[in-house]
């Protein structure tokens, strides 16, 4: 059975899907009476031509790397973790508690503490759906969706009733102490007196997300646990015969996934808002699905896809600022990417497979 060469599967299929998504996005922009070329130029100008634009693009990229990796790790075990949004919210609670109640002497310690707390809280939020899937057979997609809503209620309750300082109106925690301030790109890279990256939220957490990429690569392809996760995802029965416990792998894969999703809040809560707010996740948990699908569940692919979506997020914000196109255009583009790279994958794959099959036959003949 000669199917498709590896490069076609890894690059050609996603590329064609992406082009289809781009084509339909252009149609949508045309449909609301704007020019796709102008919109695209504006997005490039706003997201890539200025250092502050890059500062925002990389900030969003950081979020999407974490949530993309989270979805990918679960995908490797053939689990669909749709609950990244909720896990990131609860991860944020962990960050806030650690930053508000522990007097950190320096940001370098605070980021370690916050990361551990975010990972633990996110993992804990993923644990219940994982356990229920493994032990009681309840469908993980449904339970993680339910847990997103429950997380939102928990967060709302904590912010309104517990963490909100007396006398404050908006549902948010107190600001974190000055010592926990993470250096942003302006402080790290701009020469004295320069305006480079000024006002942009990208911060040191970006490098943490790159570390997470390396971690996931080593975990999935270089460790025994990763091998177990992949075999379980490939065939549950085969994995069982090989002595791999389905319960153990389901729970561990979801714990890692939840921890990664939770760590996104280090970037949003500690890095950007510097206090816990109600809507810091901004749908990044769902973007993670698009990122993982496009990146073919590989850290390098995810990094590139996250960059693309980071560009889209910042470019979309610029569009909303300068034109009548609302920010929701980006949600539409994300939806189209998920649709074409995820759900309609076979629409591209089937004709391509046939094409390669006929080509292969001709060569043999």
């Amino acid at each position: 059975m000669g199917k498709m060469p590896l490069w076609a599967d890894a690059i050609l299929v996603p590329l064609i899907s992406l082009l289809l998504a781009a084509f339909f996005s252009a149609l949508v922009i045309l449909g609301i009476g704007e020019s796709p070329v102008e919109a695209f130029t504006l997005m490039v100008d706003g997201a890539l031509k200025r250092s502050a634009g890059w500062g925002y693009t990389l900030y969003y990229t950081t979020n999407f790397i974490f949530t993309g990796l989270a979805v990918a790790v679960a995908f490797h075990a053939r689990l669909f973790n749709i609950g990244g949004e909720g896990q990131a919210m609860i991860g944020g609670v962990g960050v806030a508690l650690v930053c508000l109640y522990i007097p950190w002497p320096h940001w370098s310690l605070a980021i370690v503490g916050a990361s551990i707390a975010a990972a633990l809280f996110g993992a804990a939020w993923a644990f219940i759906p994982a356990y229920l899937q493994a032990k009681r057979g309840s469908h993980i997609v449904i339970t993680t969706i339910m847990f997103n809503y429950i997380a939102f209620s928990v967060l709302g309750y904590l912010l309104v009733e517990v963490l909100r300082p007396t006398g404050q109106m908006d549902p948010a925690s107190a600001s974190f102490p000055e010592a926990t301030h993470l250096p942003n790109f302006h402080e790290m890279f701009a020469p004295e007196g320069s305006r480079m990256f000024r006002g942009a939220p990208a911060n040191v957490t970006f490098f943490l997300s790159l570390l997470a990429c390396v971690f996931v690569w080593v975990l999935i392809w270089k460790t025994r646990l990763g091998y177990d996760i992949r075999s379980f995802g490939f065939s549950e029965t085969a994995a069982k015969y090989a002595g791999i416990s389905p319960v153990r792998i389901t729970v561990i894969a979801m714990l890692i996934s939840g921890a990664l999703a939770g760590m996104m809040s280090v970037n949003t809560t500690l890095g950007e808002s510097e206090r816990l707010i109600l809507n810091s996740t901004e749908g990044a948990g769902f973007v993670g699905i698009a990122v993982a699908l496009m990146g073919r569940n590989h850290p390098i692919g995810i990094l590139m896809a996250a960059l693309l979506f980071g560009f889209l997020a910042q470019g979309g914000a610029e569009l909303a600022l300068w034109t009548d196109i609302p920010r929701e255009l980006i949600v539409v583009i994300q939806a189209l990417v998920i649709l074409f790279t995820g759900a309609l994958d076979n629409m591209v794959r089937m004709p391509l497979e046939k094409l390669f099959l006929t080509l292969g036959r001709k060569e043999n003949a």
Partner: protein, 321 residues
């Protein structure tokens, strides 16, 4: 709580339960045929927008209703193509549809009306008008029954009564017709249906399109019955609560009615009382909001009777291997 307050709470529970019930029955048709649908939310949202927009422009609520059904059916068709024809992942398709609806509704609303992603507020003729049942005034003097009849049973819009009628109708279709038998079979064991010479693909498309129609009605009711016009993200998780109700009801029509009424009551209580005190313990409003989801997780976990989905659910059907 006096009797009249109780009636008002129950009355608003019924109103809030209607979109849930319609979406829940919509999901029932689709999932009984073996097509998982987590896109109920998106379809309702798209329908709510289309209904709000067309009712505002035409001034007729019925044009709005038709537009809502149309919008929802387009999304259903996409779901069908992705999950039936191209055997894609039904869950991923559902996620895409939800996001597509969330984005497109605001995008088009902004383009058409320029009011920041909402449609113009509907006047009386663009909204579903309440129907006063006969004898509502006459019975009013009868204690208990009179006010109940007037406040709770009478005075809803046509869709409310239609939605209730859909429960026995769905039961009848599912358990008493040939189509229903095949529909249930195709969700449990599509190969057997195929062997009997019935097209799996056509049956599943039919189910998915019925789902689209019902979601359309649900969304239209949201924008023209419950509220006066479309606002951004107005479904607010109702599609997922409906999904929860469907699981809660274990994919059966009558139980779906009770589940939706229960979840409607929870919503009504959360709207009316910001916090409830029971025996000195204050129950925060957030718990009321989260309760449908928590209950569903408990049910799914099988602690209160096990919920087993249709066996072929989520699996694309491949004729030959």
């Amino acid at each position: 709580m006096d009797f009249l307050t109780l009636l008002q709470v129950l009355d608003s529970s019924v109103r809030l339960a209607i979109p849930l019930l319609l979406a829940c029955l919509a999901g029932l048709y689709s999932e009984r045929a073996g097509i998982f649908d987590i896109g109920l939310e998106g379809k309702m949202l798209a329908a709510a927008f289309a209904a709000g927009a067309f009712a505002a422009v035409s001034g007729s609520v019925w044009v709005g209703l038709l537009a809502g059904i149309g919008a929802s059916m387009i999304l259903s068709a996409i779901h069908g193509i992705a999950s039936i024809t191209f055997r894609g992942n039904q869950l991923i398709s559902g996620v895409a549809i939800n996001m597509l609806a969330a984005g497109m509704t605001v995008l088009i609303a902004q383009d058409w009306f320029g009011q920041g992603g909402r449609t113009p507020s509907l006047l009386t003729e663009g909204r579903m008008s309440p129907i006063t049942l006969p004898f509502a005034e006459m019975f009013q003097s009868i204690p208990l029954f009179g006010p109940t009849y007037k406040e709770l049973i009478s005075g809803h819009s046509l869709i409310v009564y239609v939605a209730f009628a859909f429960v026995p109708l769905t039961w009848w279709v599912l358990y008493r017709t040939r189509f229903g038998l095949r529909l249930r079979a195709v969700g449990e064991n599509p190969a057997s249906v195929d062997t009997a010479g019935v097209s799996v693909i056509r049956l599943r498309y039919t189910a998915v399109m019925i789902c689209g129609v019902l979601c359309g009605v649900a969304g239209a009711y949201l924008a023209t019955g419950l509220q006066a016009g479309f606002i951004k993200d107005m479904t607010a998780g109702r599609g997922f609560i409906a999904l929860a109700a469907l699981i809660f009801a274990k994919w059966r029509p009558w139980y779906a009615l009770w589940a939706c009424l229960l979840f409607g009551l929870l919503q009504a209580l959360a709207v009316r009382f910001q916090s409830i005190e029971i025996g000195g313990v204050v129950i925060p409003v957030q718990l009321m909001e989260a309760l449908p989801f928590i209950l569903t997780v408990v049910i799914l976990a099988g602690f209160v009777g096990r919920a087993i989905p249709p066996r072929a659910g989520g699996e694309p059907y491949v004729k030959e291997r």
